[in-house]
């Protein structure tokens, strides 16, 4: 492997990892605070992509369409939380899993009803479609750099919120002692909706940013959701730090294994191993620690 | 058979900055009732957790029947003869009372990888279970579903399950918790019957019960055993009085009446 290839894949890995992080934040916050498993998180990723396509079609400007789409995802997320997730708080894992699975089924079909089965194209906005030489011999797509930057900004924003705002303090408190938070006079329902909306915004954003790299289609969020769960198993649930660590580890590992494995073991065996690689990593972490590398709490 | 059934050697456990258990060394002699008292937050729960194997101590050792059990899992300790009852009722709610105890009886077998015969018809499991329930006064409630039973009955069921595993030692965690007057008296009578037949480590808040039943009392405060001895010694110990001042009027009265 040449240094140029290594650098390129490293950047790809970090970019992928940051997108996974945006997803993982939502899932781990919702689980850590509301104790709910939300399998429909992948649907928010997908809805983000579709909403961006649609608002771009209507508005015509990518930079205006983006915030509109984000608001749209937040609304969808809030409605999802109030209608379906709220009744699930305190319910068993099975109920949560099935209800959110039902949501996924619904959304996967709803986008087909609205936009049809043909995958949609999301174009890289003008201005970001060039290449940049990040390293001698490595002409790296500007767009990927841009979304990496976006991921980092979101991470910074999240850090700021968690550490320096009241909402963040409530989030940190709420994850351990719901009763105390309630006793402080905080409207816990509103807090939960806010947390969910935040997670939804990040997930939708991830879908919007990744859209041009994949294609926007029904079910696009499902494999991402599963990888997000792998991230949480690796990094530990209930911890943002764990989500970040897990995302970057998986993102980089996944990227490199896709490139390296076929080279090492040949194309046929390589493609099978590539499918397994992420999960073998997860299995290895599980053997080392039942609850992930940075878990905030057990189970 | 040795004199000491259970022994903890300088057991310590910290949770972050909080030192829940600080070098606790105590023992339970064969056939005695050793009561452990102390205010809430003193570390009793953490200590129990380490003795039963649910929590791993940071330092120290635990010996049971002469064996070092520090590394053993909870189930293995139970199979060696260390039974417990829980402070907050912990039973099998969907099973009947008889089913609960029968499952405990079943646990004494080498393994339960038997897939064919109906367990609810096995007399070798059900007969001892019924017998135990009768002895504890729950005979009429054999077929009641545990979830629907009264709190007092639950506490009795806890004891029954502990006894069903044919232990040599009982770790009773606040068996009187939440019991009304009549139920308390029945429980004390029950515990008195058990005294001598089993070695008992009794965690209790009810001082009457403690002074009635205990051969020895140890006082746990802020993770440390500050006193250990007979009821009389404990009553007169200045350290103990300081620790309990204001905590337990009953205790103060006891002392005033000499």
């Amino acid at each position: 492997m040449t240094l140029a290839l290594f650098i390129e894949q490293l950047f790809n890995g970090v970019q992928f990892g940051l997108m996974l992080f945006l997803m993982a934040v939502g899932v781990t916050l919702v689980f850590g605070i509301m104790r709910v498993i939300n399998l429909a998180h992948g649907s928010l990723f997908m809805v983000g992509g579709y909403l961006l396509v649609e608002s771009y079609r209507v508005i015509g400007s990518y930079w205006l369409a983006l915030p509109v789409a984000i608001v749209g995802v937040i609304i969808v997320g809030a409605v999802m939380e109030v209608l379906v997730l709220r009744p699930l708080y305190g319910r068993g894992h099975l109920d949560q899993v099935l209800a959110t699975f039902g949501l996924t089924m619904f959304f996967n079909e709803a986008v087909v009803v609205i936009w049809g089965r043909v995958p949609l194209n999301l174009n890289i906005p003008a201005g970001l479609d060039g290449h940049f030489e990040i390293f001698p011999g490595v002409n790296y797509p500007v767009y990927r750099l841009a979304i990496t930057a976006a991921g980092l900004i979101c991470g910074g924003l999240l850090y700021f919120i968690i550490v320096h705002t009241r909402l963040g303090a409530l989030i940190r408190a709420g994850s351990d002692k719901r009763e105390i938070v309630e006793a402080l006079g905080v409207n816990i329902g509103l807090l939960y909706t806010a947390v969910f909306a935040l997670g939804a915004a990040f997930a939708g954003l991830a879908g919007m940013l990744t859209g041009p790299l994949l294609s926007v289609e029904s079910g696009m969020g499902d494999p991402i959701l599963i990888l997000t769960l792998v991230v949480i198993v690796i990094g530990g649930s209930g911890s943002i730090r764990g989500a970040l660590a897990g995302s970057l580890i998986l993102g980089i590992f996944d990227t490199f294994s896709r490139v390296m494995l076929p080279r090492i073991v040949g194309l046929t065996a390589g493609s099978a191993l590539v499918g397994m690689a992420d999960y073998v990593l997860m299995a290895t972490v599980l053997i080392y620690s039942r609850t992930g590398l940075f878990s905030a709490h057990r189970g | 058979m040795s004199d000491v059934v259970l022994q903890t050697e300088a057991i310590s456990k910290s949770f972050g900055a909080l030192k829940a258990c600080d070098e606790i060394s105590l023992d339970v002699k064969r056939g005695e009732v050793h009561a452990l008292i102390g205010p809430n937050g003193a570390g009793k729960t953490t200590l129990i957790g380490q003795i039963t194997g649910e929590i791993a101590p940071d330092r120290g050792r635990i010996n049971f029947e002469g064996r070092d059990i520090t590394a053993l899992a909870t189930a293995e300790r139970a199979r060696l003869g260390l039974a417990r009852s829980f402070q907050i009722t912990s039973i099998f709610p969907s099973f009947t009372a008889e089913g609960n105890v029968a499952l405990a009886v079943q646990a004494t077998g080498r393994h339960s990888f038997r897939f064919w015969a109906r367990a609810d018809r096995l007399e070798r499991l059900r007969a001892p279970a019924r017998q135990l329930l009768r002895e504890l006064g729950l005979g009429a409630r054999s077929h009641a579903v545990a979830a629907g039973m009264a709190h007092g009955e639950h506490r009795q069921l806890e004891i029954a399950m502990a006894l069903a595993t044919e232990p040599s030692m009982l770790l009773l965690d606040e068996p009187m918790a939440g019991l009304g007057n009549e139920e308390s008296q029945a429980m004390v009578a029950l515990l008195a019957r058990l005294k001598g037949r089993y070695s008992i480590l009794l965690i209790e808040h009810d001082m009457d019960v403690v002074f009635t039943l205990a051969d020895r009392i140890s006082v746990l405060v802020q993770g440390r055993v500050i006193a250990s001895g007979t009821a009389e010694e404990i009553r007169n110990d200045p350290l103990v009085r300081v620790a309990y001042l204001g905590e337990d009027d009953e205790f103060g009265d006891e002392h005033a009446q000499g």
């Binding site: 494999p223 299995a283 | 367990a119």
Partner: protein, 326 residues
């Protein structure tokens, strides 16, 4: 006793209906009933874990699919005898379960669900990557297996074989959940902490239940491969795992036979709705949500309740050790 024999009567009534399906002389219904039976069997395997051991697994499709793939691959390789292929398919599922189970059982609750889902996805990707077996498109079986030399090509014959196996699985499973082993895993579902405190090491019993469930799912998968004479990675998808869980809850968890009803309800709904619209899933999702949020019981549970309403009103729900295995 009156209650028991009524329920048995119900069982027999439905068995009679099941046996009578081919009399409709339309292979469509026979094939449909076969599908219900096979999915029902896979759903029973999920119920064993979910309703009895209390293990919410979102990865049963892995064993279902491994059974199908193994049966398909063996058939393509020239093994045609079901008495060889089907046990081997089950063994393949068991092999996967031994590995996946050993790793998954280290986790609890939420983590367990995630891990089973993730490992199942891994198996899906492996299936997809099998170029010589069609990769994403799957592969066909030249013909169905033969059972002790008897051809299974006839849909009615195959249906009765599947039905017989389903009844056998149900019977064996009911003995299992009523046995000492069954008591332990039911105790685990109620209170694992207590189970350990009385002296049962929980891991080995959970693990055994997991592996047994996988074996049953593997058999169902082998039958699927034979039914359609086609195997593709779709059978390994997490949607299938979700479907199986849905079937269990639609039918009533913890009843063994409920999931078979759940499979029937699910597949019938799917069929009826898709006759009206291509987009039946848009109704199915909310239907599932509604069942979870608003309805306390599955179909079988409701049936049993309706039955009891006709008898003495005070009949309580039987506990595990009150012969509730039926």
């Amino acid at each position: 006793m009156g209650r028991l024999s009524r329920r048995t009567a119900l069982h027999l009534a439905f068995l009679a209906i099941a046996l009578a399906v081919p009399l409709l002389h339309d292979t469509y219904y026979t094939r449909f009933a076969t599908q219900i039976a096979m999915y029902g069997m896979a759903a029973v395997s999920v119920d064993l874990l979910l309703g009895y051991a209390g293990l919410v697994t979102f990865g049963q499709a892995a064993f279902f699919g491994v059974g199908a793939y193994a049966a398909g691959m063996l058939t393509v390789a020239g093994f045609h005898e079901a008495l060889v292929v089907w046990p081997l398919a089950m063994l393949a599922a068991v092999a996967f379960a031994l590995v996946i189970g050993a790793l998954s059982m280290r986790t609890e609750g939420f983590h367990f669900i995630m891990v089973t889902l993730a490992f199942a996805q891994m198996v899906y990707y492996i299936g997809e990557s099998l170029r010589s077996y069609g990769g994403d498109n799957g592969f066909s079986l030249p013909r169905r297996n033969t059972l002790a030399g008897m051809s299974l090509a006839d849909h009615t014959v195959f249906y009765y074989v599947v039905l017989a196996l389903l009844v056998l699985v149900l019977y064996l499973a009911s003995r299992l959940v009523g046995s000492e082993f069954g008591m332990v895993i039911r105790g685990r579902r109620d209170n694992e902490r207590r189970l350990a405190a009385i002296g049962f090491p929980p891991f080995r019993y959970k693990y055994a239940a997991f592996v047994i469930g996988a074996a049953i799912a593997g058999l169902a998968g082998a039958l699927m491969a034979n039914h359609a004479r086609f195997v593709s990675p779709a059978i390994l998808s997490w949607q299938v795992s979700g479907q199986l869980l849905s079937m269990v809850i639609l039918g009533s968890a913890g009843t063994l036979i409920g999931p078979v009803f759940g499979a029937a309800v699910y597949l019938v709904f799917q069929q009826v709705l898709s006759d009206y619209t291509d987009h039946w899933m848009i109704f199915f999702g909310p239907l599932l949500i509604a069942r979870v949020l608003f309805v306390k019981e599955g179909v079988w549970g409701l049936l049993v309740q309706a039955l009891k309403a006709q008898e003495r009103p005070a009949a309580p729900v039987p506990a595990p050790d009150q012969g509730a295995a039926q």
